[in-house]
């Protein structure tokens, strides 16, 4: 279990960025004035996110959606 990290202070910035910037509840409409755009931040970092083809086919595998635990 040596790779398990449980405290945010020990977690790399990458791990937090990867979640906080483009995941979580997103609101659209008039009541919200700004929801940070992930692309802006990564442009700020002079890098862009890109997906790699190697794993693309996993996306098509029957793993999406809720899965029931065995009873």
């Amino acid at each position: 279990m040596d790779n398990i990290v449980t405290k945010s202070k020990d977690v790399t910035l990458l791990e937090i960025l990867d979640r906080v910037l483009d995941k979580g509840v997103v609101i659209s409409g008039d009541i919200v004035i700004s929801v940070a755009d992930v692309d802006l931040i990564y442009i700020g970092l002079k890098v862009m996110l890109s997906s790699v083809e190697t794993m693309e086919r996993l996306r098509g595998a029957p793993i999406e959606g809720p899965m029931q635990e065995p009873t």
């Binding site: 995941k23 009541i31 929801v35 940070a36 190697t54 086919r57 793993i63 809720p66």
Partner: protein, 264 residues
């Protein structure tokens, strides 16, 4: 004038005093059994124009996203939480209340679905040179090309070598896909929901090895202890082949803030 920054929605009233040391004054906005937890932020930092400027400042981004994460983690130990995306900003508290009013039933359902569950994440990396070294690349097509190369003119041999490298690359990609799929499936067994995220390039990870899987799992709390065994199994099987497993959590359920499809 200040703006209102929304961090999370929960059904349990957060305890204000516990959050004082964080450096942001957190306060809940209530509507029908839900609390939206917010803090005041300055327009100098968070107006649309200023936020855009600040996002280019990595020091500012790091400070702010760590604060965002910490505020959510504080409460997560005590109750189920619905985390919002970084930089969700409102003009006024009334607008936050309006949000709670409009989405009340939806948020309650999502929270109910997350009760007793934790989000965990895995990033799998592969040192491709190490993997190559661990494999005996034997394959009919490759040995056929080897034979042809030895009996070809230099020009043709050059083309054949290129073809051989292409073949090797494909074989390696197949192997990576297979190992990664196998690893992913081990975690699917203990998960209620899974999500595959974008692979991050080396410029972002700042690592020498390549990310081959970036995924999140929603796991029943009682089953989280099984992860250690799975990681041990995967390391035994794949570490010598250049694979590294970065398992982190529990995270706020950033990847599972939608209702499962059949409940929508």
């Amino acid at each position: 004038m200040d703006l209102i920054y929304l961090y999370y929605v929960t059904r349990t009233k957060p305890n204000r005093s516990n959050l004082e040391d964080i450096g942001a004054e957190i306060c809940p906005i209530y509507f029908q059994d839900t609390y939206a937890v917010v803090s005041k932020v300055s327009k100098d930092e968070f107006s649309e124009d200023n936020l855009k400027k600040n996002l280019a400042n990595m020091e500012w981004v790091e400070k702010r996203i760590r604060l965002h994460e910490r505020i959510i983690e504080e409460i997560m130990e005590k109750t189920t939480v619905l985390p919002f995306k970084f930089g969700t900003i409102f003009e006024s508290g009334e607008n936050v209340e309006k949000l709670l009013k409009e989405h009340n039933e939806e948020y309650k359902k999502i929270i109910a679905n997350l009760e007793g569950k934790e989000e965990w994440g895995i990033k799998i990396y592969c040192d491709i040179e190490k993997l190559k070294g661990s494999l005996t690349l034997e394959n009919d097509e490759i040995s056929k090309i080897d034979k042809e190369i030895s009996s070809s003119s230099p020009g043709k041999a050059h083309l054949l070598k290129k073809k051989k490298n292409e073949l090797i690359k494909n074989v390696i990609n197949e192997v990576i896909s297979g190992y990664t799929q196998d690893s992913f499936e081990q975690f699917i067994k203990i998960s209620l929901e899974t999500k595959i995220n974008k692979i991050l390039p080396k410029e972002v990870t700042e690592r020498k090895d390549s990310m081959v899987l970036n995924a999140a799992f929603l796991i029943n709390k009682e089953r989280v202890k099984e992860c250690g065994g799975i990681l041990g199994y995967l390391k035994t099987k794949y570490a010598s082949k250049g694979f590294v497993f970065d398992w982190t959590g529990p995270w706020p359920p950033y990847n599972f803030c939608d209702l499962p499809k059949e409940q929508v």
